[in-house]
Symmetry: C2
């Protein structure tokens, strides 16, 4: 266990429960009518632009807006690695603009589809699905003992969840080390912020595991697959379409992980038990 407590097991980027801009003190009553003061999570709109095109308004806690914008666009298939030339965040306007050297294909595509369908929401989802075609995740070994060590570390690490609750976490891990721990009011934002970090750093996804506190829905599975990460782990449960997509792309999907119990519904051939 000594290694687990060493400096190198701290995440490179993690939650900052001490950041006062992420929570707000509120006063209320408990079940006895007694006055209580508590801290609750902030939730703010952030509008993401790709060059001159407004793409989406996300509800977020507001930390790492640049990574959220990069990761969101990457997971939508609107931005490839190395394509972003600048990321500008305006705190007052609550706007992030991601710039590319020339207008991307996506902007023309969005404009065209909006004209025919009235709203881009369906389009956005369709584009995520398109990115999965022919995708096959890399071979990898996933040590069951590592998963237990990771879950223990993540659950006991200082976090906004432990501070104020009502928040989801997603953690990029390598071996037994949580590398990047992101939290947000929407679980898709937490995973997009991780994706933004990977894009920015040019991180290799093949030797990583993604841990999430949220359910293993189709959206979460698709994002993990598009990020090229071969294993997705959660303390929560599954949806049928999430399982189906995971099986199609060869993603190891581990859910309901509590203590040393879990269920694996896809890619169990990657799992490695102790001798």
């Amino acid at each position: 266990m000594a290694e687990n407590l060493s400096e190198s097991s701290n995440p490179i980027l993690g939650p900052d429960p001490a950041d006062e801009s992420l929570t707000r003190a509120v006063v209320g009553r408990d079940q006895t009518g007694r006055k209580v003061e508590m801290r609750v999570i902030e939730e703010r709109p952030l509008t993401i632009y790709l060059n001159r095109t407004e793409v989406v308004t996300a509800m977020t806690i507001g930390d790492h807006p640049e990574l959220l914008a990069l990761g969101f666009l990457a997971n939508q298939g609107m931005l490839a690695r190395g394509e972003a030339t600048a990321v500008e965040y305006d705190d007052d306007l609550a706007v992030v603009v991601v710039r590319t050297a020339k207008e991307t294909d996506y902007e023309a595509k969005l404009a065209r589809k909006v004209r025919t369908s009235g709203c881009a929401v369906g389009t956005v989802f369709g584009d995520m699905m398109e990115g999965l075609e022919g995708l096959r995740l890399p071979e990898a070994r996933v040590r069951v003992a590592d998963l237990y060590a990771l879950a223990h570390k993540i659950n006991t690490m200082p976090s906004l969840y432990l501070e104020a609750g009502a928040i989801h976490g997603t953690v990029l891990c390598e071996g037994t080390r949580p590398l990047v721990y992101m939290e947000d009011v929407g679980r898709h934002n937490a995973v997009d912020k991780v994706a933004g970090w990977m894009l920015q750093e040019g991180a290799n996804p093949a030797n990583k595991v993604l841990y999430t506190t949220g359910r293993l829905t189709s959206e979460m599975v698709i994002k993990c697959a598009l990020m090229g990460i071969p294993a997705l782990v959660s303390r929560s449960g599954f949806t049928a379409w999430g399982v189906e997509i995971a099986q199609k792309v060869g993603l190891t999907l581990v859910g309901r992980m509590r203590g040393e119990r879990f269920i694996c519904l896809s890619g169990q051939e990657r799992l490695e038990w102790p001798e």
Copy 2:
């Protein structure tokens, strides 16, 4: 407790865990490598049209598509009570069309905003906020003992949650009776299905309480307020913006309700304790 178990305490409309179309049997492995079979929740796209205008594609378990469409449009401020002349559901296409006698204001508005902003997501949220202006929820008494009785009933009622997990529930309640219990992979869908039922039945919101398993985010608080229900209760936690909006519209907001403990962060003047 006899009254709690009487026939009249059953919901009018509730989860149907026996409906095999809502879950799928899948085979996997547990932590020992042993083969396990379990049922997981289905998750399907459903596209909602208002007349000829495509509005949104929602990911849903697929029950009550007509109520989901009605409630979604009502909560977006796109549809008033009595305005829908027909609701057509096509199972094969996974499409619901809500028809009105004449084209609604919203369609022109959506077309105009889409042209200027590229995507309607921000617009949709903005419209929900607009609906809150000047809104003040009705006076009401909320008996703390009723909340405990409701939570106990809801937690022990047959549900897809108890059957397969990974799903959110929202329950429209009156006194100690759960009237309509809706479940869905997205908590916003569960509350929209409740809104659809209220619209269809012309239900009076002033004497109701809305119970949800999900967090008390801005979206959940806004929907409850737009539905005219004066109290929102959850076992989960709060976000700061959710609390702020609740205080603004005079909504009683009770969270972290477990057993006979809770926190109330807005509208505590409605709460009534036993003598």
